[in-house]
Symmetry: C2
Subunit: 251 residues, 2 copies
Amino acid sequence: MKNIILVGSGNVATHLGIALQKCNYLIAQVYSREIENAKKLALKLNTDFTNDLTQLKSADLIIVSVNDDAILKVLSQIKDTAIVHTSGSVDIDVFKGDFSNCGVFYPLQTFNKEIDLTISEIPFCIEGNSLRFEKQLTAIAKTLSNNVVIMDSEQRKQLHIAAVFACNFSNQMFSIADELLAEKNIDFGILLPLIKQTISKLDKNKPKAVQTGPAKRKDTSVIQEHTNLIQSKEIKELYQKISSHIIKTHE
Amino acid sequence: MKNIILVGSGNVATHLGIALQKCNYLIAQVYSREIENAKKLALKLNTDFTNDLTQLKSADLIIVSVNDDAILKVLSQIKDTAIVHTSGSVDIDVFKGDFSNCGVFYPLQTFNKEIDLTISEIPFCIEGNSLRFEKQLTAIAKTLSNNVVIMDSEQRKQLHIAAVFACNFSNQMFSIADELLAEKNIDFGILLPLIKQTISKLDKNKPKAVQTGPAKRKDTSVIQEHTNLIQSKEIKELYQKISSHIIKTHE
């Protein structure tokens, strides 16, 4: 499985393409619906590109990294080749019976095209429609990463939800903090040591065990004062709901 | 200002006491309402202890690190000495006119007694009732930390609310993730690279600029699927509220 086609040109396709090439895989072609996007990534990888799925070359493996909504449509235009998608939330059943070798190759990360990351530390969650194909996918993932896990679709979906909380929603908490600080001309950087300390505790402790703050202490007077001080209706409501949830889970 | 009394024996008092002693300040006495707690910290610091505020020794500075609710009661029993509290949410006005030199010495951190931390990286927020006292407090803070900021009570309260979001609430997001993973027998450790990547982006970027995920992408079908899959009513509601807030702030 050395010859790989990337279907998609977004963050995941870009990072995977670069990483696979570094590990001596051959990226034979890049497809994107928008020819300019296909070209841009193909130039980075020094390979061919197309915006026509009927023009895909033959390859050992097709990696489909498009929006979840687009996966089904893309698959309907690809003829039987070993194939994976890279989505956390799409079931392996999306391939129906149309592909002899199909599976999931899900890198658990938050990709931004511009930001470099150490792919070797990224967990890859692998699922294959046969033990043989699953092993082949695992072998590829292991050349990229030290952290490869076999996981079925149900587990992967739950992992994706958990990742939304742990990554997207925690980042939204940072955004809200930034917004609150900006109101009083305080730089967000002042919070970074606190944030890093919070994270470093997780290496050895469960998050629940290291919870701190007014809700954890059930300090209702501070909670009330904070609620009074917050101007935005939505942020006030989030403060109350999350505080209530902390109180409830630490009863 | 070399001779310091600690009023309180909790996380903040413990860490401050140890750090001050390392910087050659003399901890003259530890007070706690519970004599056993006073004794425990006094033993660590090799100093005297009491549970009677009328028995405080004379000192250059009293540091009050008790629960916010208890500060006022404690102050009513202390005679005029240079004094600070260490709370993010309590106004400097709590000292009323009863103290000639009073202020706030707020370390912006999440302290656990058991977990070591690098105090030199902790931001200290200083406020004094006079420029002269503020300078003295700043000098003490600078012996402990490289990150000392003068901040009035209004700013400090807002900073505290921001810290609740950035630290306590993000940690609750990690707790929820852990709970969801446990349901499917997945270890929380799989999320750590993702969490660390999320945080490392904040060194050079605003959190809003690096938001990712289904809500950022306005991917309503994933949001709907996640909402359907989440069993707990409270967690489902938090998923919806925070997703809505992400969508709204990225319009």
